[in-house]
Symmetry: none
């Protein structure tokens, strides 16, 4: 009367994660359902019990990826310290993620391409925006707090969104170049250098001004 009890959601996620790993390693088109089934330790038909098509599975894998990125990023968002340090910590974490696992970039590219080439997918899912979203939000928050506390110029708050978009784009771009031209780019150094320039432009001029306001 009670059939085999299985946590379908859990299994679905497990298969999606298995698929995600293979996708990252070999690419979407190069990863067959057979290979996924083997890697997941289930029969080919079982995949179709949980996903109606390879595309469906792909979407689920991408979603799982977004989720895992979010989970990784979340602790970084509430770093303590002064705003510049928090900014460095945030980007430093992203950078070391790239350094430790270059597949992240491959996967990002794969998924981007997949969504680029498939209009239907793109509408279902604003993937890239979702992945970058939390990081961008954290950057914006840091900028605003920095401006409020007087560490950053007021422009840091005003332009927070544009700065954040560009910063995330830069990190992805340099990460991509790093992965694609192995050995050519000193990723950490380049990111640091970029941040130096950015912070130089953002930091409020020597406290003189602040003190002056305080003195009278």
């Amino acid at each position: 009367m009670t059939p085999k009890i299985v946590d379908r959601d859990e299994k679905r996620l497990a298969i999606a994660l298995t698929a995600l790993g293979l996708f990252a390693e070999h690419g979407f088109e190069a990863t067959s359902i057979s290979a996924i089934a083997d890697a997941a330790g289930v029969g080919k038909g079982t995949i179709y019990e949980y996903f109606s098509s390879k595309e469906e599975l792909t979407v689920a894998a991408a979603a799982a990826w977004v989720g895992s990125v979010e989970r990784q990023v979340r602790p970084l968002l509430s770093t303590s310290g002064d705003p510049p340090a928090r900014l460095r910590a945030l980007l430093g974490a992203t950078t070391s993620a790239f350094l430790e696992n270059p597949r992240v970039i491959t996967l990002f590219l794969e998924i981007s391409l997949l969504f680029l080439k498939n209009d239907a997918l793109r509408e279902r899912f604003h993937l890239i925006r979702e992945v970058s979203g939390p990081v961008r939000a954290a950057i914006i928050e840091i900028l605003r707090e920095g401006a409020e506390s007087g560490t950053f110029k007021p422009e840091a708050a005003r332009d927070a969104e544009r700065i954040a978009i560009n910063l995330v784009a830069f990190v992805d771009g340099i990460g991509m170049h790093h992965v694609v031209t192995p050995g050519f780019i000193d990723l950490a150094a380049q990111v640091d250098f970029h941040l130096d320039g950015l912070l130089a432009g953002l930091l409020a001029p020597p406290q003189a001004a602040a003190e002056e306001r305080m003195i009278p």
Copy 2:
């Protein structure tokens, strides 16, 4: 006396370029040898007279792409005007290339992924470096000339290479995000904004004026 050889190379290139177009439009895996042969107006078997495999053809197509990018970029390198204007012109051209033909990014991603996933290819070919090389070189040249002429701070020359690497990375990154999240990013505005910040840090302070003010 060896007209056949010229013929062969020409035809090889023609086929590679045809393939490149189809790759850009449909992606690598989605482009069949049949389709390439049809588009190139030759027989399927003929492809194999010129390329030993699809991979060989793919490499040739990628090489052709690098060549065509170089050819497109070259006229931009010798822009005239003051250094900041030349920098804006150079990046502006790249930006509008992205805006006018988003497939450039797709192709870039496709080829990057291809090389990322295939170690043998990566060693044969330092693709990204080659593609970005000319732009990077031009940026470096502008920075050095700007420093020399006093428009830019001396650091512009000293850090020219790092600045160039980061700038190219940023442009590719923001271009990628732009293509992948259609409608979300105002590409030209973001690039402009980035340049504003960069130039603010690079421009030499109006020393004359400052000194003058100090003297009295």
Copy 3:
């Protein structure tokens, strides 16, 4: 004391009838056990509690069909009126069955083919004979009564069986053509026309009248 058995048979029949409906709608090969289970409101595994295989279920469905046809035909067999009118009523009913629900023919063809192609099935089941049997029997009865009452020639009784076989064959044939060439055949008119010819040959010459005229 054996209520379970009644229950089982009832459920078996219910599943078979559900299957029959799907078979009629989509064909045998296009109807999956899953679909049948869903439509019947039972689990997939339950089907196999009642039928050892899809073939077994198919046979049961065909049997159910025979039964339902018999049930539909039975009231028509005892029509009242003079024999020609009863004949017209009987065929008219069959004809309108075709007209109202062309799937009847599809189902008939499907089942016929199934049995044609499967020798084992054919031996187990003399399907067509069973389905057509009641109609044929009714026709024979009408013919015999008509001959007895003098409405029909004596040959009507003598040839009753052959006439009935041919008549049923004709109706099925014209029905099949009607369904298969939509819009080409005016089914009712053609059946009427056929009956006109048949009755013309069967009706006894107005002997009474003739004799009466002769007597005086």
Copy 4:
């Protein structure tokens, strides 16, 4: 410069005919492309060089069947003798075709079902009409000539079309019943019996009338 020379049309037809045989034997759905390829002595892929899909192949096979039926029927259309004899010859030939190769009916049913269930096919092809067409046309011609020569009543010409439609339907119907209920129906006898009745109704009354007209 000249590739392998093959008569594509010939090979296409050969494959279609091979397929037709398998379809007749096992049914459409039960016949796989693999089986067809094996039976045709070619590789699986080769089938797709000649037909873009199984459906395409099916249509071609059906067309081939129509063609072969027409070729078989054509010599029968110009039989000599008096109209009743010609009618008997025509139906006799069809009947023996059923008797000699019951698969004809199976094939007819298969193809009918296929077209019945597939709206797209039905529109592409008025199959049944085309198959029956020549026979129907021949019947009509015989009826008209018979009426003209005075062998048949004038009604034979007037109702020629309706008679032909019904006659073909009857033959298909009795053939179907014959095949589906093996051993139950004496096909030839039933067809003869039907023709007896039909001719009894069609034949012009004793030449008296015709002679009378001639005498004056």
